[in-house]
Symmetry: D3
């Protein structure tokens, strides 16, 4: 009966604007497999929800991601 929420910054992927449908399908498959393998959960009652977050809305080190990366270089 697991519920998994994955939040990633909206970047990368084929158009640079986030994971493609194929990448999302692989995330869903991969994470579900981990739950099945480690805890023996049933895939039928395993939800995986992927949220994409704008880069300017994600902070690390006290800065939005774009500024944090500039500063790290």
């Amino acid at each position: 009966m697991p519920y998994v929420n994955i939040k990633v910054t909206r970047e990368g992927g084929p158009g640079g604007n986030g994971p493609s449908p194929e990448e999302k399908a692989r995330l869903i498959k991969g994470v579900t497999d981990v739950l099945v393998d480690v805890l023996g959960k049933s895939p039928a009652t395993t939800f995986v929800v992927i949220d994409e977050v704008e880069m300017e809305s994600w902070g690390i080190g006290g800065l939005p991601v774009p500024d944090f990366r500039k500063q790290s270089h």
Copy 2:
């Protein structure tokens, strides 16, 4: 002091692209009423937040919802 977060796939509704404002208002009213009826919570401090999730970003059975439904038929 309850906080309720409802996540649904973005589908259905009048245009097929998710719940209408009227449906969201009914969800908010219905869920708030349940909190009031069962736990005696005050509506004034009950938040309900509805998130709509793209079909391709929601997984069940190890598959994105559209693939899961095809497979189930």
Copy 3:
């Protein structure tokens, strides 16, 4: 395919330490019914997860709930 997360302060209920199992069952039933009635969702793929939060860990008005209530009187 809905997922609902309900967060409430850990108070009330028969022992004053949070909702009883019967109250939780009624919350789950009530919220699921709202999703079914308003959006036609299937109960079989509707998850409801209830989190209880210590009073001192919930803030409103810039204060933990116990202090907020004292101040409001």
Copy 4:
């Protein structure tokens, strides 16, 4: 190792359609500073994620925010 999720209604800001990038940067800086000051957390492992929620998708008092505000006047 903190993770902070801020949900706000999509309103206000320079165009009336939500916080500007500068406001988001100030939110991220301000909240990270609080975690550092109060708990001595490291900014490098402090994530802040800001979600903007449509007004019609946020309920309070059993009503969507726009209806709640009309009623309060």
Copy 5:
């Protein structure tokens, strides 16, 4: 910069009261690997947070999990 939240019912594991520390470590490793493999994310900025939820606080099919399972047999 991913954040993953895994919610599971508190059951199974060596004592029947939820995943062991070793199982949690394998969940963390497995899910992080999926993010690295599919999206090329850096493990250093990948957070995985596991929440265990009491069986009576998790609903499916309009029932708490223990009642749902009884009914399914």
Copy 6:
């Protein structure tokens, strides 16, 4: 109408088992002030919910926090 969820590892504080009530009160006050200062939000409708997460249930770098810290030394 903001909702803020703060997740921290259960450590530190006076007994080494997480933030004290006073520290939680300061977190709630500090974060609410940021929302008021930056976005002009009303404290009366600003919720702050603090979750403490066991160290073994929080992963970074593909490892539970205790293992990650050992490795980093």
